[in-house]
Symmetry: C2
Subunit: 360 residues, 2 copies
């Protein structure tokens, strides 16, 4: 039993462990390494749940997060973010402590790493296969080849690392699977062209959740799947029943005349990430009911229509509003669980235990 | 001189104090009480800057924030958020410590307060004058009158509290001033109808920044104006030069071929709040240059086009991209400074001093 008196991020440990297990098994069956992204939960305790499933290598998104997990017994850490050369001294220190993986995409950054980090580190080249956020365009084989030479001077060139971030913008399973197929094929073509021994590491939650097995890659890095969220459920990477976190929010005002309630649960709890419904109406999460033990499937026609700093405004179906009183609790399944977890800084399990993060 | 190696929220103390002084003086000249909202900065150190200008009463948006400031010498605190009755025991404790102001909008919530808080507290009725987020509709004088009776049984009825939140959606000064005029007039009509002695407390940053003086109200509560932000500059509540916080971000990747850079500065630093430009293109802040001492006016044609968890993508004018290298620093003026401050958890002044918040 959990007891909540203010906005609290509930965590269903059983679902989270099921989500971890599912991916660990699929990776094992496919013969690929699973290096989960810990930017979703950033919690030393939750890290242990992965460890119990045999996970030994992790991904993080910032140097600070790497320092935190290095301090909690993780000694194989890839920072899947272009190297911030202003923190090179911290990286040098980390490289002495753990097997450190860095991601580069320019000879400029690599020059700084060669100068600033004397202990050998594992270096991946970030490849852009179509998302156009970061990475070298996959057709630039000459530039990539030169970069491999610069890397190999002082460090260990590991392989090609990509993130198919545009799968998050899809709503059809076939389109996600098609992106996965095209991009993995582009990475393999590039590997063939380069003619060197190297691994391929990929990592978005939508495609990793949806493919049957991981062909032609060596490592997967998805992180969001431990919690999933409304975005993933809408993409159909998961079912609503797989979502493992839920923001419990107290009702603080009820407006029968306009069928709305105000809850204590706003942008500082959920983040401002939103999705749009069939009518192009933005919504900021899905409402569920709470019973002190678990939470329900999303309630029909309850809509989180707006968030301000601390307020959440929810529209309620006509027949329901009369039953709602101040002091009632609802749950909101977050649109984007990584951002909600970052804001909430700690979790409460369904048994009422607190789980900390690097922020708390 | 400040020195930055990772995403850091710079704070120009001089500008912040100027912003405070401007409002303190306007309030004094108008003969109204200034009860600044501390939800923008939530910092005990920054609270002292207000105290040095003679401010004695404050507004907060959550019970936790009230507890924090009560612990740091503030003894006249209004929680301008509908009472969360699940935390009534914390409120009872606070009521013994400080002069506590609560905001109610239903006899249901007031019943819980009467039952759960034995020490007398100051109670304001939240009035909706047009924003339609929280509050009793200003024309419901009968309901309001009944609530005053319920309040007066055990506690001190203080007056009417309103927030003209729809001023944030305006882009013309005249429209903001017109909202202010209409709503203040509605509150005064209501006061006349109720025929009891009571104060009127209002508080949005746009109208409080733009009106010449505060006629027909007794208290103002704006908070955002200490920092201001891009939203306020676009509304013209302030000039860009008044904005007192700026997120310093390191460049981690440069793409001359598409005139874009990636900085370490994403949704976990800035929040996902955005504005739209003339072409309906969303942007997530305004880019400025940094020189180790202060920051510039917004740079023309630099656009923060997207944010993911840690990445910020900025488009750069053609002639400029060649000059940018990894390891350079830029600044981003936040769209919504309250949310950015909440995420960053601490500030660095232009002299390099750290300023803490209730989160750190």
């Amino acid at each position: 039993m959990y007891k909540v008196t203010k906005p609290t991020l509930l965590l269903d440990k059983k679902k989270a462990i099921q989500n971890i297990k599912r991916m660990v098994e699929k990776a094992r069956d496919s013969g690929v390494n699973y290096r989960p992204h810990f930017k979703t939960h950033f919690s030393k305790e939750i890290g242990e749940w992965y460890r119990e499933e045999g996970v030994k290598s992790i991904t993080v998104s910032s140097i600070d997060m790497a320092v935190y997990f290095a301090g909690h017994g993780w000694n194989d850490i890839t920072i899947a973010f272009p190297v911030n050369i202003l923190q090179i001294d911290v990286l040098q220190h980390l490289a002495r402590q753990v097997k450190l993986g860095l991601v580069v995409e320019s000879s400029d950054a690599m020059g700084h790493i060669n100068q600033g980090i004397s202990d050998p580190v594992d270096v991946y080249i970030k490849i852009d296969t179509g998302y156009h956020r970061a990475g070298i365009w996959h057709e630039n084989a000459v530039e990539i080849k030169e970069l491999i030479t610069t890397i190999a001077k002082h460090h260990q060139f590991m392989g090609l690392l990509a993130h198919f971030g545009h799968t998050y913008q899809q709503t059809e399973i076939n389109k996600i699977l098609s992106i996965y197929k095209t991009e993995v094929s582009a990475l393999n073509q590039l590997r063939d062209q380069l003619g060197t021994d190297m691994m391929i590491s990929i990592g978005d939650t939508p495609s990793c959740s949806l493919v049957e097995s991981f062909e032609d890659v060596d490592e997967i890095r998805p992180g969001n799947l431990i919690f999933y969220d409304v975005m993933q459920a809408e993409i159909e990477s998961c079912h609503y029943g797989d979502i493992a976190v839920c923001l419990a929010v107290p009702v603080v005002a009820v407006y029968p005349e306009r069928s709305e309630i105000i809850v204590h649960g706003g942008a500082v709890h959920l983040s401002k990430d939103y999705l749009k419904d069939d009518k192009s109406q933005a919504y900021f999460g899905k409402v569920v009911s709470l019973n002190g033990k678990t939470w329900s499937e999303p309630l029909d026609d309850f809509v989180v229509v707006s968030l301000s700093q601390e307020h959440g405004k929810i529209t309620v179906p006509k027949g329901q509003i009369e039953k709602i009183k101040v002091g009632d609790l609802f749950g909101i399944l977050p649109v984007h669980s990584c951002l909600t977890a970052n804001l909430m800084k700690e979790y409460m399990t369904l048994r009422g235990e607190r789980v900390s993060t690097l922020h708390q």
